[in-house]
Amino acid sequence: MVGRLHAPTPLPSRPALVLLKDITKRFPGVVANDRVTFELRPGEVHALLGENGAGKTTLMNILYGLYRPDSGEIWVKGRRADIRSPRDAIRWGIGMVHQHFKLVLPHTVAENVALGLAGTPFWAPARAVAQKIRELSQRYGLPVDPDRRVWELSAGEQQRVEILKALIRGAEVLILDEPTSVLTPQEAQELFKVLSRMKEDGHGIIFISHKLDEVLSVADRITVMRRGRVVGTVLAQETNKTELARMMVGREVVFRLTKSTCQPGEAALRVQDLYARNDRGLWALKGVSFHVCRGEILGIAGVAGNGQRELVEVLTGLRRAERGKILLLGREVTNRSPRLLSDLGCAHVPEERIRMGIVPALPVEENLILKRHHRPPFCWRGLLRPRAIRSFAHRAVEEYAILTPSLRTPAKLLSGGNIQRLILARELSGRPAVVIAAHPTYGLDVGATEQIRQLLLRQREEGAAVLLVSEDLEEILELSDRIAVMFRGEIMGIVSAGEASLEEIGLMMAGERRSPVRSEGT
């Protein structure tokens, strides 16, 4: 294996589309990229793998002109490229779709695409590009309506707009930073089809992802990074999950979780006939009822946008319930404040971690006490206790392996995965009675995903009731004791994990109601 990793790659007939040579980038306290060399050929999908904080995003930001490397060279199509801004990058035919989209929400698709596009007329620029959008979306199978407003679009559609934006600017190289973490499985499949069409046209695609199965199926070559360095580049056909995981983590990773049998206690969270509206004032929850017992994980499956987000918000006090009842540990808590719910022992791992889960400018240690900052040992008679905060933060950083230069580092400087670990450390360390986790492993590397799943299972063994909302069916099946499927704000049925078949869950996700006789089964 070692031999193959370092074997010289055969000389391509055409020069590489992109060649990054010995790129080094240091940030205070970390070497994010350490003499990284990376090559992208025309007509290939080249995946970039690595643990959280390995330096993938940094490397791509350098190629896209957002950061300047401390040393190293960038070559595009055999020519030395001096890329100092995204505008330069676009001129060199490089486009990037960031993990967090950068669209102007109140504007239409066409207006967003026209924004900053060279050569668009000053007046009515959107009309001029609308035609072009239709052409390109036909060609690559990217259906979007140029006249829709961006806020109306799903995450998948917004991503298509970002890709179109890059293509219309003439990108030959497309960088996708964790593109599938916001997509439903169907949307991901559609994306892969688009990518293969782009490949045929000779485009090159750099694809960052933490999902190994996905990487193995779409990529031609895979480069693995660890702690800022390249571990090796392998052909996708000649490798497998175990090997990739070992390259990333540096040790074996078990893909089987050890899960004890479920011994449910009394119901810790009970929801009865819940109704709520979404931000646009339409019904998002229409009579949802279920319960979660202590020592049990209830998985909520379903395609994104079927009311899961609103459900989590209502359960954590962030959204009003219009009708129905929520009982936490036997106490009615419908429409009570988030503070009360969290004080009663309801932990919440939010879906939007940067927007809601952390205070980006505050240091790691102060982020770790959010929600418990008003209670001993962190606060006493209105005064914060720095010693208690620091020692708790020390333990949390260690126990949850949060990679940070120091406890005083602003949380926004951590890599995506480490921010998620910070949130989990905070939410799970307070011995919660109920854990409401929305996409808890979203954006985490394989090692961390295993670790977090193990943590959720440990919570369950310690007697917490866990409500797991995820679009990742595999995750739901692996962790849950019972699975509820949501469709258009209603629960289509609840099945126990043992007896659930994939087809049955798939049908429910598509809106088929399970026969009521069996849904009372567990």
């Binding site: 809601m356 008003h374 005064l383």
Partner: protein
């Protein structure tokens, strides 16, 4: 990175302290250079003018004490504003809050029958409450009705200024003042003492410094301070953490406006010893305090020093008027230039700037 003429800009996520200090000083120096042009416009050699002003201000204790005197209301208002700005509440209303404090103090001084020993402490207390409550109005308007804080605080300044005008022309017009729009003179027990040979009402000055320390402690080490910072940096996370916005913003503005109110008490009890027209009471201290707090980057301890700097500007304005024969309004021009440069130089804090030279990696950096 971005390109701007011959420069390239690289985003800087968290600027270091040295960078902040360097950039702020740079902005002030740059503003003073621009101001030199104004002196030229008046046909005076700017360097000589600066030297003359320097000699005038630092020449003797009594003239230097004017810097302190001018700094007192700026310290109190500025410190209060740092608190509001840390909560991302744009309190443009320190001017009105200061006047509210002055009105309350006048009421206590002239009309409240209390034991004489209690009069001054009560004036401070009521001044604080008046300024604070006046500032709580926009806080509640914003939290409950989503009314823009910049507009509401600004508008309340005009309301309070007209209330003062009405009082001194109407019900509170002093019978002993021979028709001037003043209230009566405060009784001796309602006047603050001066440091010998100066007009520095030292009680207010001491109060300002102590309160700056207090606000710094509040922000860094108390639960309320933590909640203020969280609510200011990321309201979404504050909601998630169950922080009570109404309570936090009401308290922030009570304190912020209260401090401005104390400044008003100091001005009427320490300088004028009566209530008179708003432009005499304040000369725009509440507006200047915005720059004071901005230059201090929301740090209340630094605000003490930036307030002293602007006190110096005011004192220099007096000298320019007397020694150089320039209009006093030139102080406003200076302040405007400084504020303008500060905002303009802000770009250097969020972006690291270097010279773009082809083929060469990094050349010079500014303020890193």
């Amino acid at each position: 990175m971005r390109r701007l003429g011959p420069f390239v800009l690289e985003p800087r996520l968290s600027p270091s302290r040295a960078a902040v200090l360097g950039v702020s000083l740079g902005a002030v120096v740059f503003a003073l250079l621009l101001a030199a042009a104004v002196f030229y416009g008046y046909g005076r050699n700017p360097w000589q003018a600066y030297a003359q002003i320097g000699r005038g201000v630092f020449g003797s204790w009594p003239s230097f004490s004017e810097v302190l005197r001018r700094a007192i209301p700026l310290i109190l208002c500025g410190v209060g504003l740092t608190l509001a700005f840390r909560a991302q509440f744009w309190n443009i209303g320190a001017e009105g809050q200061l006047l509210a404090g002055a009105v309350a103090a006048t009421g206590v001084a002239l009309f409240l029958p209390v034991p004489e020993g209690w009069r001054l402490p009560l004036m401070f207390l009521c001044g604080f409450l008046a300024g604070g409550l006046w500032a709580v109005i926009p806080a509640l308007l914003r939290v409950k009705l989503a009314v823009n804080d910049v507009i509401s605080t600004l508008m309340l300044n005009y309301v309070m200024a007209y209330i003062v005008e009405w009082l001194v022309h109407g019900p509170w017009k002093g019978p002993t003042m021979r028709g001037f729009a003043y209230t009566d003179r405060f009784p001796l027990t309602a006047q603050l003492g001066w440091l010998p040979g100066t007009r520095v009402h030292w009680v207010t000055l001491a109060l300002g410094v102590v309160l700056a320390l207090g606000v710094a402690f509040l922000l860094a080490r108390t639960r309320l301070g933590y909640e203020i910072r969280v609510a200011g940096q990321n309201p979404e996370a504050a909601r998630y953490a169950g922080i009570n916005f109404t309570a936090v913003f009401a308290l922030v503005m009570l304190l912020s406006g209260g401090l401005a109110g104390l400044a008003g008490v100091g001005e009427v009890a320490g300088i004028h010893r009566m209530l008179r027209s708003p432009s005499h009471i304040s000369m725009g201290y509440g507006y200047t305090a915005i720059i004071v707090a901005w230059l201090a980057r929301g740090n209340p301890l630094v605000a003490v020093f930036t307030a002293l700097f602007f006190g110096l500007l005011f004192a220099a304005g007096d000298h320019m008027r007397i020694a150089l024969g320039l209009p006093f309004q030139i102080v406003g021009v200076f302040q405007g230039l400084i504020f303008f440069c500060l905002i303009g130089f802000e770009i250097l804090l969020s972006w690291r700037v270097g010279l773009a030279r082809k083929g060469r990696a990094w050349s010079g950096q500014i303020g890193s």
